[in-house]
């Protein structure tokens, strides 16, 4: 189908975008890359009265490395993450995830912020943000606030973003020397949403394993050893059946994937 009728606004600054979001409240949706929102409009799953297109806001994209963290602007396209020398060097987990994010034509348009703000439970980037302990930067009428990834993903397509707020960026703490990471997912076709996926960051303090596609949000399992992560899968995860597999199959696949991904770190 086609998208329902809506009114289109293209603010030139974050301030203008916030004013529009404040004015139209729940009638408005933010249009970033549109690679998930537009299908939702075409399916008539969403029918906002106003779309606030943030694509022309200068300074909302880009990757910046500081002494303590890597800041990824909300409007950074997937293709930029995929090709970034800084991401490959400082956030190899994100670099490893990118080839799994949809298909090239979609990566050219889809954004980091859009993926995180939508919070599809089968998406790769929210799981990476969780495994890496990222902090989201959110702008609203009253200024900026910061939300840890653990507190940001609230449920199925639900985040800590409130009506009228705009996701600006995420800050990823720089991994320490000796840290390691691994990524993997199982999908029916390369680039499709994962049946089950796993992003793992390993440091001196232990493993942070973020599973996705097996719950209503990315699920974090923390453990000191790889074996402990695998033995926790059966109790920590409670996947639901979907179009592709039963709950039992998904749990089985999560264990298989955990074994394979953690073996990369052995």
């Amino acid at each position: 189908m086609k998208a329902p009728r809506f009114a289109y606004a293209r603010p030139a600054s974050v301030a203008e975008a916030l004013a529009l979001l404040d004015k139209h409240q729940d009638d408005a949706r933010v249009l970033a890359g549109g690679q998930s929102l537009v299908p939702m409009l075409n399916f008539r799953v969403a029918a906002p009265k106003v779309l606030v297109d943030i694509n022309r806001i200068a300074g909302l994209g880009g990757i910046k490395v500081t002494k303590s963290h890597v800041r990824i602007g909300a409007l950074t396209r997937h293709v930029e993450l995929e090709r970034s020398v800084d991401i490959a060097k400082h956030l190899p987990l994100v670099a490893a995830a990118m080839p799994y994010v949809a298909h090239p034509a979609i990566r050219n348009r889809g954004t980091f912020g859009g993926s995180c703000a939508l919070a599809d439970p089968a998406a790769e980037l929210p799981a990476c943000a969780l495994a890496l302990g990222a902090t989201f930067v959110v702008a609203g009428k009253k200024g900026e606030r910061r939300v840890a990834a653990e507190d940001f993903f609230k449920g199925l397509y639900a985040t800590a973003l409130k009506t009228g707020e705009l996701l600006i960026a995420a800050e990823f703490p720089l991994p320490k020397p000796g840290d390691a990471c691994a990524f993997g997912e199982l999908a029916r076709r390369h680039g499709d949403y994962a049946m089950v996926g796993l992003a793992v960051q390993a440091s001196k303090r232990g493993f942070r394993a973020a599973f996705f596609g097996v719950g209503d949000r990315p699920e974090l399992i923390e453990a000191e050893a790889a074996d402990a992560v695998i033995s926790k899968v059966g109790t920590a995860l409670d996947p639901r059946a979907d179009l592709h597999a039963s709950a039992e199959t998904k749990l089985h696949l999560a264990k298989v994937l955990a074994g394979r991904v953690l073996a990369q770190l052995a």
Partner: protein, 163 residues
């Protein structure tokens, strides 16, 4: 532009020609090309980004024409399969597709050609696995993909020889 509008004035360059129109905000880029400009080489299949039949180039990069509104292409440069045909940019690919029987019904072909050209720009000497991975976003329901991969591989090899 700031106040929300249901009809949007846009000006863009399509296949090298300057175009100016007033469009409904809800009109997607693929429908704009097909209906407003009668460039029907861009096909509309699934309308939710899965099939790849609507693949076009915006500012040099391939995108899904069904997942972008025409209003968002204001000020952009758009290239379609017609433009790439006229400029002969995809001539070798088109010949190779004919030679290897890489199409039957032809519905997916414009999108596949757009994707294949982008692949060969970024990765001039791809393996068959890389060709398949890159084309994972383009559905073909006729050929089983084997002949499509053959055609793209043949063009990559002939371009490498020509260098």
């Amino acid at each position: 532009m700031n106040a929300p509008l249901e009809t949007v004035e846009i000006e863009l360059t399509v296949n090298g020609e300057r175009v100016k129109r007033a469009v409904a905000a809800r009109l997607n880029l693929a429908d704009f090309l097909r209906i407003e400009l009668e460039l029907t080489g861009t096909h509309v299949g699934c309308e939710h980004g899965v099939c790849g039949a609507c693949t076009v180039r915006v500012d040099g990069e391939i995108v899904r024409g069904c997942l972008m509104f025409a209003a968002q292409a204001d000020g952009c440069t758009v290239d379609t399969v017609e433009g790439l045909t006229d400029s002969r940019e995809i001539e070798e690919l088109q010949s190779a597709f004919v030679l290897t029987n890489a199409l039957q019904c032809g519905f997916c072909t414009p999108g596949v050609l757009m994707a294949a050209q982008a692949l060969l720009r970024d990765l001039p000497d791809p393996t068959r696995v890389q060709i398949r991975e890159y084309l994972s976003g383009n559905y073909c329901r006729c050929t089983g993909y084997e002949a499509i991969v053959d055609a793209i591989e043949a063009v990559a090899k002939s371009r490498a020889r020509a260098k």
